[in-house]
Amino acid sequence: MKSLEELRAIRANMQAQMGLRKEDGNQTRIVVGMATCGIASGARPVLVALSDAVQEKGLKNVTVTQTGCIGLCKYEPIVEVIEPGKEKVTYVKMTPEKALEVLEKHIIRGQIVKEYTISEMIG
């Protein structure tokens, strides 16, 4: 069995590093809808893909989290991007691939991927 010993080593190693994330007002939040509607349409792989990519790219000011049903079930999986001081952007009918595109273009380069947003979808 894999034990918790390794976790102690990770901690010792991390504490020696600088630049641990601080949970402050400058966090960008990526929120994935994870109610029955979201799960049924594939929200779990979307969340895993986003979470893994945020770690891989070392985006220290970005957190990936989940929420319930926001009442737009037919547009699930839904991903909301909440940046400090900016209006919330809602992306609909996400897939892991589309979500990674949003991460790359919107979160990293600051350009909203219009064609995937709710306003574009509903018109």
Binding site: M1, K2, L4, E6, L7, R8, I10, R11, N13, M14, Q15, L20, R21, V32, M34, A35, T36, C37, I39, A40, R44, P45, L47, V48, S51, D52, V54, Q55, E56, G58, T63, V64, T65, Q66, G68, C69, I70, G71, C73
Partner: protein, 185 residues
């Protein structure tokens, strides 16, 4: 319908999260001799008052106002009962709520357990203010993942730092394999 039991688990646990639980226990127990797979989810959220308890199994009942149906519990109940299993939900408001489902392990209509590691991983990383105890057992052999123990070691290092998240993923997959010997349930 959700195509995997692990997705049903993710769904039911979200009820616990919405009920503001801060400790959620998820048990998956497989007993081959008794031909049964058991899923039990226990939380310390605000619970379900007695007058609503009988209604939550009704797909056309929900407490939310974002939509007027609630399919999570009916899905799990149906998935269990079509395999000759039992579904139960008990709640002592303010103390604990238990959702229990058993399945005929080799019944032709039993859905696969599916990617349970991703379900647990997702829950842990996306809900870091909640503690989870996950227990996976096959025929008396089990492993536990207790986030309280993780936090004791990690202090304020978040679960979604790459090294820790990687550890959680490996801990889940390796210990699953040790418990079930790689058999896909």
């Amino acid at each position: 319908m959700l195509p995997e039991l692990s997705l049903n688990i993710l769904d039911i646990v979200n009820n616990s999260i919405r009920a503001k639980a801060d400790l959620i226990t998820i048990e998956v127990r497989i007993h081959k001799k008794e031909d049964v797979l058991i899923i039990k989810i226990t939380d310390n959220g605000h619970g379900i008052p007695e007058e609503l308890l009988s209604k939550v199994e009704d797909p056309f009942f929900t407490t939310r106002n974002t939509r007027n149906i609630g399919l999570g519990i009916p899905f799990l109940k149906q998935a269990a009962e079509i395999t000759g299993g039992i579904f139960k939900i008990e709640s002592i408001p303010g103390i604990k709520t238990v959702v229990y489902a058993s399945f005929g392990l080799t019944h032709i209509d039993r859905m696969p357990l599916g990617d349970i590691c991703s379900t647990i991983y997702t829950l842990l990383l996306a809900n870091q203010s909640i503690d989870f105890l996950y227990i996976y057992e096959v025929d008396g052999k089990e492993f536990q993942l207790d986030t309280r123990k993780f936090r004791e070691i990690l202090g304020d290092i978040p679960f979604d730092t790459p090294e820790v998240a990687g550890f959680i993923r490996d801990y889940l997959t390796q210990n699953h394999r040790e418990v079930d010997g790689g058999i896909i349930f």
